[in-house]
């Protein structure tokens, strides 16, 4: 049984077909990078999975069960955004314990304990009581990762997690994501970091114009891309 299954997902924005029937199967513990040119529908695909956008056709299954994440929300998945989207009026710790307290109705002590463990993991325990505005982009994104993990999701979605970071801050965020990959957390990562995709993923999915052109191992896609469009894309980014 798959952890997550997307079957023939279609999405239009007005007349524009953004997803033309995207299917993907994700096993427990798999790390999948989704790459491709801008506007290929990668982010929209993630947003459809977690229910930030309604899908026009197709369906999503989590552990074999069909779900309507747009209508019901989805606590099995956590998401990290390109723009971090931390809550600016809450400290680092308050950002992380917010959902465990409010959604899971966890005891405050227990939530703080988990939050501190996660902060330790992302290397920011000393920033516990600081407001996000005092943090660098890379630190904010690491807090955002900790915040998503605090809900203990089965699947983590990363939507271009390093795209709005200064180049020197990309590394620290990728390190954290790599650590999660080693822990065998199921992850879908939309990224433009080809080195990361190649090194960390179990599979790489190449999307273009709303379709999956390739879904294979990193070696295959980076060393012998069979599709002309993939070749052209890789030539451009390397």
């Amino acid at each position: 049984m798959y952890m997550l299954e997307a079957i023939n997902i279609k999405k239009n924005f007005n007349k524009l077909e953004v997803l033309k029937g995207v299917s993907l199967q994700v096993r427990q513990g798999e790390v999948i990078s989704i790459i491709g040119p801008s506007g290929s529908g990668k982010s929209t695909f993630l947003r459809c999975l977690i229910g930030l956008e309604a899908i026009d056709d197709g369906f999503v299954k989590i552990k074999g069960k069909e779900v309507n994440t747009y209508r019901d929300g989805c606590t099995e998945m956590g998401m990290v955004f390109q723009q971090f989207n931390l809550f600016p009026h809450k400290t680092v710790l308050e950002n992380i314990i917010e959902a465990p307290l409010v959604v899971k109705k966890m005891e405050k002590e227990g939530a703080i304990e988990i939050a501190e463990e996660l902060l330790e993991k992302v290397g920011l325990l000393d920033k516990r009581d600081v407001y996000p505005s005092r943090l660098s982009g890379g630190q904010q994104q690491r807090v955002a990762i900790a915040r998503a993990l605090a809900m203990q999701p089965d699947i983590m979605l990363f939507d271009e997690p390093t795209s709005s970071l200064d180049p020197e801050l990309v590394g620290e965020v990728l390190e954290v994501i790599k650590d999660l990959a080693l822990e065998k957390i199921t992850m879908l990562v939309v990224t433009h970091e080809m080195g990361f995709a190649r090194e960390v993923s179990d599979r790489v999915v190449f999307m273009d114009e709303g379709e999956v052109l390739a879904d294979t191992t990193p070696e295959e896609i980076f060393l012998q891309p069979e599709h002309a469009r993939i070749k052209a894309f890789l030539d451009k980014v390397f």
């Binding site: 989805c74 600016p88 917010e98 959604v103 505005s133």
Partner: protein, 213 residues
């Protein structure tokens, strides 16, 4: 000197009425404003239209006219109110109309990323509004709310026209009796004092809420 203290004492009696009206209006118009602002961004179209009509009418007509209507107009319909009741109701409804638009604009100034972050963490609409969105709008609406708070001090003087002995009317009564402008000067100083306190309260609030910026 005795005379000034005497007159000030009398005017302060009027200031008490002004103060009561001020507090009651401040508390309830803000609450009503928050509710209407949430209504105005809700997905219920009819509710949005009704609230839009309400703010259009109450922001588009003079407060003095509204006050006359509540005090002299409603008795025609069989509703008779004490001057203080009429004043409080009118002021609350009038100021809430302004607060509705201020709060609505404040809420809409929060980016959609905040809603999305809350949603993927599992917060429902209510939790998102009250724990994430509205607390962030507080800092942003403080400057316009502070303007309204000062306006309210001065607008409260309008109640003298429906026979309430507020700060200004008390001053005028002394003036009519003694033929001196001293009471007006005292009244002006009292208004300035009240306004200064309010300005300072808002400055402190803005400082407190800017810690996260």
């Amino acid at each position: 000197m005795d005379y000034i203290l005497n007159v000030t004492g009398f005017i302060l009696e009027g200031a008490k009425v002004t103060g009561q009206l001020y507090l009651i209006t401040a508390v309830f118009s803000v609450l009503l404003g928050i509710m209407c602002a949430i209504g105005k961004i809700s997905r219920f179209r009819l509710l949005r239209i009704i609230i839009g009509f309400y703010t259009w009418v109450f922001r588009g007509t003079p407060l003095l006219l509204q006050l006359f209507f509540t005090y002299y107009g409603l008795p025609v319909l069989g509703i008779t109110l004490e001057p203080f009741q009429a004043a409080a109701i009118t002021f609350i409804i009038n100021y809430a109309a302004y607060f509705t638009e201020i709060f609505r604009a404040g809420i809409e100034s929060i980016g959609k990323g905040q809603y999305e972050a809350a949603r993927v963490l599992g917060l429902n609409y209510r939790q998102t509004m009250f724990r994430i969105i509205i607390p962030q709008t507080v800092r942003r609406v403080l400057p316009p709310v502070s303007n309204e708070a000062i306006n309210l001090v001065k607008d409260s003087a309008l109640v003298s026209v429906i026979g309430m002995t507020d700060l200004l009317r008390a001053a005028r009564q002394v003036l009519n009796r003694d033929f001196t402008i001293t009471p007006f000067i005292i009244a002006a100083i009292l208004y300035l004092l009240i306004s200064s306190v309010i300005v300072n309260v808002f400055r402190k609030l803005e400082e407190r809420f800017s810690i996260y910026e």
